[in-house]
């Protein structure tokens, strides 16, 4: 059917849209159309005022609902090459500005641009629910997007490629990945997903197997979909940072040597995201996002190189600001005597090391393990909670840390319900119960404060006076 659109001359926003036949039949609509067409009006999108442009286009009726499954009887699919030639006023409005544009990129690839253009015009995503692809031998790493607009595209698959350590890519390897993307897919790469993968988009089902074979032949592996360990993200660490407290890159490499099966063969109640930050600056947002968060920490005071600090202050360093913004108020600067740190007040937060040239983190270094961070889960966002305040991270196999993490995930696997994220599981069973299950010795580092209610549970055997090892420290006080 023929459609008539009145669009903003500046940004292309469709202000009103009519079906040509209806317009001819309905006098009220015709009146409205003529009124809008001949009048100067303000675009509700870009707020520019002026006359509206008229666009006429032949469009197929929108097929309602999800993809029509009866593929065999329906007409042959419309290739997206035809649609690429269609008008894209919305996408054009997002291009040609000073900030790099994703629409310019999409247009250089085989991506069915009308899927995006129509979504912007209709203010609704055009992708559909679900989809399924089976690729024997590949248990994880392939995802499907089905289409709610089979007239534009039938849907597409994409692959999650685990990124190399430090997200460093050699140009040679990247060019070969581009070759694969051009040969088998849209030629569109998502260079780093927020989960830490490189995604290759738009691979027809029949191309999946050869694409996976070529990618693995190149030395990259796929995985990280479904209820498994998702791709772990690490901060740049010792590769290019003076603050890293442990070798995050080596740790991640060791992680994949030990847990690769759990990354590629889903088996847990829900996904488990892991992130490794080299220091409490947490550049990987592990505290907010990760079910398992390994964070570098140190226990002694930051090391001060007094001459270097003095030089930094003389060079214009704002030492007063740093002292006043120190969260523990632990920093004290006195000209002539130098910088001092009150160990009782220091929170080991990294602020001074970040800002002052000449202050570096201490040398008694290790890692903390935090669990249960998430941004939705069932009950909304939660920050991760400290499980182990300090462990030595011993390369090359980090056995102690990994053993601890494995114990946590086994307990999660054993006790959590289906589709229950670690954070929701902790909320349901309670942190005290979780510490008991994992065998963690309680220390004050585990809590921000002790509980304010007195609703403690005591097992009968804890109450029996004959019990030899009372968990209550009362006896120690009596001595």
């Amino acid at each position: 059917m023929e459609k008539i659109k009145l669009c903003c001359a500046k940004c292309g926003f469709t202000v009103e849209e009519y079906v040509a036949d209806e317009l001819a039949a309905d006098s009220r609509k015709l009146k409205r159309y003529k009124y809008l067409k001949n009048k100067s009006s303000i675009c509700p999108s870009c707020l520019a005022s002026g006359r509206l442009n008229e666009l006429r286009a032949i469009e197929e009726a929108v097929v309602g609902g999800a993809a029509q499954p009866d593929a065999k009887s329906s007409a042959a699919p419309v290739g997206h090459a035809e649609y690429a030639a269609g008008e894209t006023p919305m996408m054009d409005a997002l291009a040609g500005r000073e900030w790099p544009s994703h629409t310019t990129e999409l247009k250089q690839t085989g991506y069915p641009v009308q899927m995006y253009e129509q979504a912007l015009q209709q203010r609704r995503t055009q992708w559909g629910y679900g989809g399924y692809v089976s690729l024997p031998g590949v248990a994880s790493g392939v995802l499907v997007r089905s289409s709610a607009r089979p007239d534009i595209t039938k849907g597409s698959n994409f692959l999650r490629i685990m990124d190399p350590c430090g997200n460093f890519f050699s140009a040679d390897a990247m060019r070969k990945l581009c070759d694969i993307a051009d040969k088998y897919a849209y030629g569109l790469l998502h260079l780093l997903s927020t989960g830490g993968d490189l995604e290759m988009l738009g691979i027809p089902t029949e191309n999946l197997k050869p694409a996976v074979e070529e990618i693995t032949a190149l030395g990259f592996d796929i995985g990280s979909t479904g209820d498994d360990y998702r791709t772990s993200e690490e901060c740049i660490g010792p590769a290019k940072c003076d603050l890293a407290l442990y070798d995050t890159l080596g740790f991640r490499y060791a992680w994949y040597r030990r847990f690769l099966d759990d990354v590629q063969y889903p088996r847990f109640p829900h996904k488990i995201k892991s992130k490794f930050a080299g220091c409490p600056n947490d550049c990987v947002r592990g505290c907010q996002k990760a079910d398992i968060f390994v964070c570098g920490v140190f226990r002694d005071s930051p090391r001060i190189d007094q001459p270097k600090v003095a030089e930094w202050v003389e060079g214009g360093g704002n030492i007063t600001l740093i002292c006043s913004r120190c969260p523990g108020r632990a920093l004290h600067w006195e000209p002539g005597r130098g910088l001092s740190i009150d160990a009782d007040s220091c929170m080991h937060c990294m602020y001074c090391s970040n800002k002052i040239s000449g202050v570096r983190p201490g040398v008694d270094r290790g890692v903390s393990i935090l669990v249960g961070g998430k941004l939705r889960g069932k009950y909304g966002p939660t920050l991760s909670k400290v499980l182990v305040p300090f462990l030595k991270a011993e390369p090359p196999d980090y056995k102690e840390v990994f053993d601890c993490i494995e114990r946590v995930t086994e307990i999660y696997d054993e006790h959590a319900r289906k589709k229950e994220r670690m954070g929701d599981f902790l909320l349901r069973i309670g942190m005290d119960e979780f510490y008991k299950l994992t065998g963690i010795t309680p220390t004050p580092h585990l809590v921000s404060q002790p509980r304010t209610n007195l609703f403690c549970h005591w097992d009968a055997e804890e109450v029996r006076p004959s019990h030899k090892e009372s968990p209550c420290p009362e006896s120690e006080y009596r001595r």
């Binding site: 940004c11 995006y116 140009a171 030629g187 592996d221 990987v284």
Partner: protein
């Protein structure tokens, strides 16, 4: 076939990193977009950081150009940062200007270091997702273009991170950032009765965070419209409850004050300050205006090294709403879970 694991460090790291691995002693920011690291070997490493298109979603044609730049300026390597910037590591100091000009010719502005707007991140939104209630990529294009100057200079009070998610699943990490733009649905999910037969109903009932989905006779359920919070949990769990949303129902919420670092006031999840703004493609003027309002109020009032959330912690929420002029509404008061009473106030230490 899969099972080989990730590439070795040996294969993925550039030579200058291998020479100085773990030997860095200090860093400084000689100019916006450039970071200098000094090593105990005496070597200095210059890194140049540039923005990427929203979502780091790039065509192979562009990637090949980025590779060519890497060959010319950075020994054939580049890296993608956690915030989707591209970094060239080990650029000879004499060639930084040349590299910045080359990146500008490719349309990539250099910046995003120290006290500046860091690169904006977002999820795929309308481009490739069936749950999206908004299109964060387009919003980020607009917001970033608006704040380009803040990206290229480092004159903000502290770093500013802006992220966008298409729905409250938050794959785009909206709730992690100083300012988060999160798509929200406001419609009830549909129930496609004909699809319920192939549906794991016990799972759907259990994933609903408010118990709004109730059994109604054998193999049938109903949704309590009074309880539904429009999270797409059921739409994710079963196709009978998808798709959720509509053109006029969907929109954008804005959250502020998220942060992951332990400096300052420590890690925090962002808090809701605007419950709904309409989707208005392609330029989302309401959203960009709201972001600008919040950023301007922060820049005008915050102290040095005070992230957005820390500024609010110091001045209090009553001052935040006063300074930004944003309206307070009942939608911003948590009535949802066990923490609901915790967020209501007990002290009377008001700021009038």
């Amino acid at each position: 076939m899969p099972g080989i694991g990730i590439p070795t460090l040996e294969a993925s790291l550039p030579p200058i990193v291998k020479r100085n691995y773990g030997k860095w002693i200090s860093h400084e920011h000689p100019r916006p977009g450039v970071i200098k690291h000094d090593s105990e070997t005496g070597e200095a490493c210059y890194t140049v950081r540039a923005a990427m298109p929203p979502n780091a979603r790039v065509s192979t044609a562009t990637v090949r150009k980025l590779c060519a730049v890497a060959d010319e300026f950075a020994e054939g390597f580049f890296r993608i940062t956690q915030r989707n910037s591209i970094e060239y590591v080990g650029v000879p100091p004499g060639r930084i200007d040349e590299l910045i000009a080359r990146l500008a010719a490719l349309g990539l502005p250099v910046g995003g270091t120290n006290r500046s707007l860091h690169n904006t991140t977002c999820c795929t939104g309308y481009m490739h997702c069936h749950l999206a209630a908004t299109d964060p990529a387009a919003i980020m294009q607009n917001v970033s273009a608006m704040l380009l100057r803040e990206y290229q200079t480092d004159t903000l009070p502290a770093k500013l991170k802006i992220s966008g998610s298409g729905c409250i699943n938050n794959c785009g990490e909206g709730s992690c950032a100083d300012i988060g733009i999160v798509g929200v649905h406001r419609d009830l999910p549909p129930i496609h009765v004909e699809k319920l037969k192939g549906c794991e109903l016990p799972l759907v009932i259990s994933v609903c965070p408010v118990g709004a989905i109730r059994p109604k006779g054998p193999g049938m359920v109903e949704i309590d419209p009074k309880r539904c919070i429009h999270c797409p949990a059921c739409s994710v769990a079963c196709g009978a409850f998808a798709p959720i949303g509509s053109a006029d129902g969907d929109g954008v919420a804005i959250v502020v004050g998220g942060k992951s670092s332990n400096t300052g006031d420590g890690p925090a999840i962002a808090k809701l300050v605007i419950p709904y703004l309409p989707n208005n493609p392609p330029h989302w003027p309401e959203v960009t205006k709201a972001v600008k309002t919040i950023v301007d109020a922060w820049v005008a009032n915050a102290r040095l090294d005070e992230r957005l959330g820390e500024w609010i912690n110091r001045i209090g929420w009553e001052r935040f709403f006063q300074r930004t002029g944003l309206p307070m509404s009942l939608k911003l008061v948590d009535g949802y879970d066990a923490r609901a009473l915790e967020y209501a106030r007990s002290n009377v230490r008001f700021r009038w």
